[in-house]
Point group: C2
Chain length 328, copies 2
DNA sequence: CTGAAAGCGCTTACAG
DNA sequence: CTGAAAGCGCTTACAG
C-alpha cells in the first residue's frame, strides 16, 4: 500500500505527468474533460502531491517559525496566537520554537532557514545578532519583534518600551510614591529600555534610585512570590513596585496575602502586559496594556510581505496605556 | 550569492559528491584527511545541506504537529510545552496547529501527513474519526491524547475522565452539596465521560439531577462570568458548581465578587486541571489535578516510537487527585 | 491543448 | 577508502 505518485495518476488517467502537474497547479490550457479524468484518478488513488518534491523544484514551503522563551508565559501564548492566526490566513503554518532560556537553541533554530526547513522566522527576543542573523534580516527572512536590546539600527516591531515604563513610573510617582522597587527577569542592564524609562521618570522628579530596590531574576509567578519574601525583610521597604509583568504581579499578590501585606496600602503594584490574568486576581492588577495582537499581526504581515515580495503592511502605532484597577 | 550545494563543496574540496555526502552522514570509510578538507570547504562556502532534498531521498523530516483548539488556554499551553520539550530531546521540531473551534481545519491539518509536510501528529481532541484518520492511527502516524468522545476502540492517552469527575463530584456531595450545577464548553452529550462520572456520583447518592442546572457553552474566563450572571437569576440556585476548568472557575470567582456572591458560602466551586491560575485567585481554587506533563510526554514518546520503530514508552498511570484549596 | 526530457540537491547501491 | 550514475517526485522550458 505504497502511496501513489504523479506517475501513477498519469497512467490511471491515460495522460502525461506534465498534464497532471498542470492540473495540480491550476495551469490554464488543460481541457475540462482531461481535468475531470485526472481528478477522478487522484481520488481513486487517494493521491496527495508530495510537497517535499514540490519544494525541491522551488515552491515555497509555506512554513514559518517563531522563537519565544516559554509558551506557558501567557504573553507569548497570545503573541503566538496572533501570529498563527495571521499566518493561517495566508496559508502558512507556524512552527513554535522555545528556547527556555537556552541561547544555544537560538542558533540552531536560525539555521532552519538555510536548511530550507523554514521560509522565515519571527524572533521575539533576539539574544545574539550574529552575522548570519543580520544577513537574514536584510534578506527579509527574519523579522524581529517585541524586544531586542542592542544595535538601534536593527528594526524591531514593538511598543516604545522606554516611553511605556516612563509613563507607568510617572503614574506611580504622581500617586505619591517615592520608594519604588524595580523587578526584572534578567540582570541589571543599562541598555534595558524599561529600566531607562523608569530611571528617567525618577530623575525628572529628583528622586534618587535606591539600588537595594533593584531586583534581578524575578520571573513569572514564582518570581513574584520570591519578591515578597525579600520585601518583608527589607529595612527600607518600597511603597510601590514596578513588577515588569502581570504574572510577577499575580505572584506578589498571592504571596502578600500569606504574609498579610496589604495591597495596595502596604505595597502598590504596577503590572505590565495586561493579561487576562490581570482582572482575575483580587485585588485586580493595575497594569500597562500592550497591543499584543497588533504586534503579532504586523510582525507576521511584514515577514510574509518580505517573503512573497508584496507590499508591506501599513504602519500602525503600537500604543500602550495604563489600565488602572485595584493594586494602586 | 546563491547558496552553495553539495556539488560546490565537492569541487572546492576536490572530491566527489558521494564522499561529501558520506561525510555529511557520518558514514565510516572516509579518511580523516579527506574529511578535514571537506569540512573546510563547507565552512568557506557557508554550506548547509538542503533538508528538502534529503527528505525526498527518504530521510525523516523530524517534524511533528499537535492539533489543539486554543494555545491561549493554559491547559494547552502546558501540554504543548511538554510535547515540544520531549520532541526537542529527540531532535524533532513541533508545529502548533490551532483549530479555534473550526472543525474543517482538522481535516486540512491531517492532510499534512500524506503531503509529507509532517512525519506525525498528536491530536488533543479529535472531532471526526474519518477513515483517513483511523488509517493514520493504525500506521502509527497519529496519536490521540487528552480527549476523544467516540469509539472506545481507539486508544487515547489521557486520564480516566469519568473516574476523575466521579471523584470530584463525590467530594462535593460528601461536603453536603445536593444542588450541583454542571458546566461544559460544548453541548449536552451523554457520551461525555465527565458528565457520565458526574451523574454516576449523583445516582449513587440518590440525588436526582435538575436539568436546569446544566450549563452549555461555558468556555474560559468569560464562560465563568456568564455563569454567575445566570446564577443570580436562578429560582433554585445550586450550592456548588462543577466548573469543568480552572479558567471557568476563575471567571466565576471574579464575577461573583462583583455581585457579592460569597465563595464558597453562597457557592462552592470545583475546578479542573490545576493550572497555576488555581492558586492565584482569591479564594484559591479547589480543583482536580491532571498530570499534564505526563500526558504530553507519553503522547510524544508513543508517536516517536511508532515513527522510528523503536519500543514504546513504559506504561505509566495517569493519576488525578483533588487539590483542596479555598473554593470548597 | 498535450508530452518528452532535463533538472532541483541530495543518497545509495554498485563497482573498484 | 573513493567515485559514476540512477533515482526520489515533482515543475518547467521547449517543441509540437
Amino acid at each position: 500500500m505504497n502511496m501513489a505518485n504523479i506517475e501513477d495518476v498519469a497512467k490511471k488517467a491515460g495522460v502525461s505527468v506534465t498534464t497532471v502537474s498542470r492540473t495540480l497547479n491550476n495551469h490554464p490550457y488543460v481541457s475540462k474533460k482531461t481535468k475531470d479524468k485526472i481528478y477522478r484518478a487522484m481520488e481513486d488513488l487517494e493521491y496527495y502531491p508530495n510537497n517535499v518534491a514540490q519544494q525541491l523544484r522551488g515552491k515555497r514551503k509555506k512554513m514559518i517559525g517563531v522563537i519565544i522563551s516559554y509558551i506557558t508565559n501567557p504573553f507569548f501564548a497570545y503573541l503566538v496566537d496572533a501570529i498563527e492566526k495571521t499566518a493561517l490566513e495566508y496559508g502558512y503554518t507556524l512552527v513554535v520554537l522555545q528556547t527556555r532560556g537556552n541561547q544555544k537553541l537560538e542558533k540552531l533554530y536560525v539555521e532552519l532557514i538555510p536548511k530550507k526547513q523554514l521560509d522565515g522566522l519571527i524572533i521575539t527576543n533576539l539574544e545574539n545578532a550574529t552575522p548570519q542573523v543580520i544577513n537574514l534580516i536584510k534578506e527579509g527572512k527574519i523579522v524581529l519583534c517585541n524586544r531586542y536590546i542592542g544595535n538601534k539600527d536593527i528594526p524591531v516591531i514593538s511598543i516604545d518600551e522606554e516611553k511605556a515604563s516612563y509613563e507607568g513610573t510617572k503614574y506611580l510617582i504622581d500617586s505619591g510614591h517615592k520608594n519604588i522597587a524595580f523587578c526584572t527577569g534578567n540582570v541589571k542592564n543599562t541598555h534595558d529600555y524599561r529600566f531607562k524609562g523608569f530611571l528617567k521618570a525618577l530623575n525628572e522628579s529628583n528622586i534618587p534610585f535606591d539600588n537595594s530596590l533593584f531586583f534581578e531574576y524575578i520571573l513569572g509567578v514564582d518570581g513574584g512570590r520570591s519578591f515578597i519574601k525579600k520585601f518583608i525583610g527589607l529595612e527600607n521597604p518600597p511603597t510601590a513596585v514596578f513588577s515588569n509583568g502581570d504574572e510577577v504581579a499575580a505572584g506578589i499578590i498571592s504571596e502578600a496575602r500569606k504574609y498579610s501585606v496589604k495591597i495596595p496600602d502596604d505595597l502598590a503594584i504596577l503590572g505590565f502586559d495586561d493579561h487576562p490574568l490581570a482582572s482575575l486576581t483580587n485585588p485586580e492588577i493595575t497594569t500597562i496594556h500592550q497591543p499584543i495582537t497588533d504586534i503579532g499581526e504586523i510582525s507576521t504581515l511584514t515577514l510574509l510581505a518580505n517573503l512573497e515580495g508584496t507590499s508591506l503592511p501599513e504602519p500602525k502605532e503600537l500604543e500602550t496605556s495604563i489600565i488602572i484597577r485595584e493594586t494602586t
